[in-house]
């Protein structure tokens, strides 16, 4: 009896963790591009919220979840074009712009939702993205159904993470992007267009953040609420740090955060008497330690948050 309970605990926990991993990983990969280019994009919450709203509305109107995904990607990039202009061209304080952008997004999303859906929105579920079960593998006992029966977005997200690793470490584009975040002067001297690379980094973030919003709606919840993000964007900031700004490690870090997030729910099966808040807080504690500098250097890109002035 005991072991049966433990097995069912492990499978539900694994499945829940993997479901939570996807959007966190997408947002974190996006943020990683931005930070590698030297821009700390605190506007992450707002970007995800815009993506979530756009994907919900468009998926309902067209009846096609993929149209929702496309809409989230487009709106994510569009709002981040504005952010990139503020961060890179105007050179306003990155943290302040990010904070106030999140406020704007909260207001705009709640306004748009209310105006478009009427006073008492009908609770209409958006069409969801299909799940894929990998033939054969999904029949592995215990872990098979968790790992190999996920939404198609999950596999796409993993592919994006791995592809980003290759892009960052194996291509000239990646080299230039990282150079711009470390030492923009030297990069400029070597002929890299610093402004353009930083804008591209922020736009890549917009893509990841917008898609993360679509993930929440079209894979996990099927509904939109203006409280849908609620701090999850900032979790992605933590994942980036814990992953030491590395896309491959980000997969593990995102899974770690998601697993701790999912543990309290699954733990209800076993009663261990550990306060769930302690477990949920654990990854944040690890993140603080990781970035504290106490245990060696988990160094952020050297020019993170430093605006680039071509003439100084």
């Amino acid at each position: 009896m005991e072991s049966l309970l433990e097995i069912s605990f492990i499978t539900t926990w694994l499945a829940a963790s993997l479901r939570l991993t996807g959007p966190l990983l997408l947002a974190a990969i996006g943020e990683l591009y931005s930070e590698r280019a030297g821009v700390l994009n605190v506007g992450i919450e707002g970007t995800i919220l815009f993506g979530a709203l756009a994907s919900y509305l468009i998926a309902i109107w067209t009846g096609n979840p993929w149209a929702g995904v496309a809409a989230a990607a487009i709106i994510g990039v569009a709002v981040n074009a504005f952010l990139a202009w503020m961060y890179v061209v105007i050179k306003a304080s990155q943290v302040v712009v990010g904070i106030i952008f999140n406020v704007l997004a909260m207001g705009a999303a709640s306004y748009a939702f209310r105006t478009l859906m009427g006073d008492i929105p009908r609770i209409e579920t958006a069409p969801m993205l299909p799940e894929i079960s990998v033939p054969g593998l999904s029949r592995i006992p215990l872990i098979g159904p968790s790992f190999f029966e996920q939404s198609i977005m999950f596999y796409l997200t993993l592919a994006i993470a791995v592809g980003s690793g290759i892009l960052l470490y194996r291509t000239r584009f990646g080299l230039n992007l990282r150079a711009v975040g470390e030492n923009p002067k030297a990069a400029a001297a070597a002929g890299v267009n610093v402004v353009r690379m930083r804008v591209l980094g922020v736009l890549a973030f917009g893509l990841g953040g917008g898609l993360a919003g679509a993930y929440f709606v079209l894979v996990q919840i099927g509904l939109f609420r203006d409280t849908i993000v609620q701090g999850r964007g900032f979790i992605a900031l933590g994942i980036v740090i814990l992953a030491r700004w590395n896309p491959y490690l980000a997969i593990l870090a995102a899974f770690g955060f998601a697993a701790m997030d999912a543990l309290p729910l699954s733990l209800q099966l076993l009663d261990l008497g550990i306060p769930s808040q302690l477990l949920v807080a654990l990854p944040y504690l690890l993140t603080v330690l990781a970035v504290s500098g106490v245990f060696g250097r988990s160094r952020n890109p050297a020019s993170l948050m430093v605006p680039y002035h071509a003439d100084r």
């Binding site: 700390l40 605190v42 503020m86 061209v89 105007i90 050179k91 306003a92 304080s93 943290v95 302040v96 712009v97 904070i99 106030i100 952008f101 406020v103 704007l104 909260m106 207001g107 705009a108 709640s110 306004y111 209310r114 105006t115 006073d119 701090g231 900032f234 979790i235 900031l237 933590g238 740090i241 306060p275 808040q277 302690l278 949920v280 807080a281 944040y284 504690l285 993140t287 603080v288 970035v291 504290s292 500098g293 106490v294 250097r297 952020n300 993170l304 948050m305 003439d311």
Partner: protein
């Protein structure tokens, strides 16, 4: 036809520039917001008039405005000290919660059977606010120490510490401190411990006086004392400050303590003036908006007071508008954010001018 930015030979400085830009930003922001009234068949002018009347020209409403402005002011004062000293602290939200926790901790001890039972209520409340400030200062000092001693990134550390504070408070209100009942919250504090209401017919509590006193302290500290001068020098250019014999690390530690203390005080005041108990969901972004009002006030204490009252008033007016006429209060949130973004963007016009037309044509 292109629009581009061209560097001015001499940047625009002076009070008039600030005033003109600020007024322009407010007008454009309100015009943008005005469009948002239209789908509801409401007149923007009537809407704004009602909103502003409610928040600033109505005794009870203005009381709520000042109540909302109180924590914003305190967080702003903390921002002024920290940011001017080169300590880009974003952990006010966490310090606020920790301060709220500290205040509640003392308040609950004054209940029947507690270790502080029987002490004069005014003493308990003062003790609670002070303890909230102390714990907030301690919370920020962790971030300060990690930055100063180990070179950690204070922005990222503080953002993560905010979550630790949220979960700590959540643990307390669903766990050991929870009162019997459905809601995750503590017992209500006895009425004689509450901060007294200072104007009849309003909910304005004495916390505003504490905040204003803190503002005077910060203003004198930053403009009249050696410590403030050294903090500002440390922020402007740490290297030359060190050459000048300033202990930059020490000044940043002190700035962290003051910043956290202000936010902790704000948290304790919110408990003793508004909620009268610790509850889940206390974190509502005040710790971030206070940073924004500090910047709107150009990182000066008097400016922050004005900005906090205006910002708080708009929020209060927006809520009143939603209750009375059913117009979404999110319109006001959008107007607030748009104004701030325009102000941030307008900074570039001090050093650059907009040039319309073909760059080649202007050169000939």
């Amino acid at each position: 036809m292109t629009i581009r930015l061209e560097k001015r030979e001499t940047p625009l400085i002076g009070g008039w520039t600030v005033i003109v830009f600020s007024v322009a930003a407010v007008l454009v922001g309100m015009a943008v917001g005005g469009l948002l009234f239209l789908p509801f068949d409401a007149s923007p002018l009537d809407g704004y008039a009602a909103l502003i009347g409610k928040a600033f020209f109505n005794l009870r409403g203005f009381g709520f405005t000042l109540v909302a402005a109180t924590p914003l002011m305190l967080v702003s004062f903390g921002t002024i000290v920290a940011w001017r000293c080169g300590f880009i602290f974003l952990g006010f939200e966490g310090c606020l919660l920790i301060g709220a926790m500290g205040g509640t901790m003392i308040g609950l001890q004054a209940l029947d059977g507690g270790t502080l039972a029987g002490l004069p209520p005014a003493l308990v409340t003062s003790l609670a606010l002070a303890w909230g400030g102390v714990l907030g200062a301690f919370w920020a000092a962790i971030v300060g120490e990690l930055k100063v001693r180990y070179g950690g990134n204070e922005v990222l550390i503080a953002l993560m510490m905010n979550f630790l504070a949220i979960y700590l408070v959540q643990y307390l209100v669903v766990g050991p401190w929870r009162v019997v009942g459905d809601m995750p919250q503590t017992d209500r504090l006895p009425r004689d411990l509450w901060l007294p209401y200072i104007v009849d017919g309003t909910r304005l509590h004495a916390g505003i006086l504490v905040a204003l006193a803190a503002g005077i302290f910060v203003h004198i500290l930053m403009t009249k004392t050696r410590a403030g001068y050294e903090m500002i020098s440390s922020g402007l250019n740490p290297r030359s400050a060190r050459y000048g014999g300033i202990d930059v690390a020490q000044r940043q530690r002190q700035a962290a303590l003051i910043a956290g203390g202000m936010a902790g005080l704000a948290g304790a005041i919110t408990i003793f003036g508004v909620h009268h108990r610790l509850l889940d969901g206390l974190s509502d972004g005040t710790g971030f908006l206070g940073i924004v009002t500090a910047l709107l006030g150009r990182l000066t204490a008097p400016g922050a007071v004005v900005a906090s009252v205006l910002y708080g008033g708009l929020s209060v007016g927006g809520d009143a508008m939603q209750r009375q006429s059913g117009l979404p209060s999110s319109i006001v949130v959008i107007v607030q954010a748009t104004i701030v973004l325009l102000l941030l963007a307008s900074e570039v016009l001090r050093t650059h001018r907009l040039v319309f037309g073909n760059p080649a044509a202007t050169e000939t």
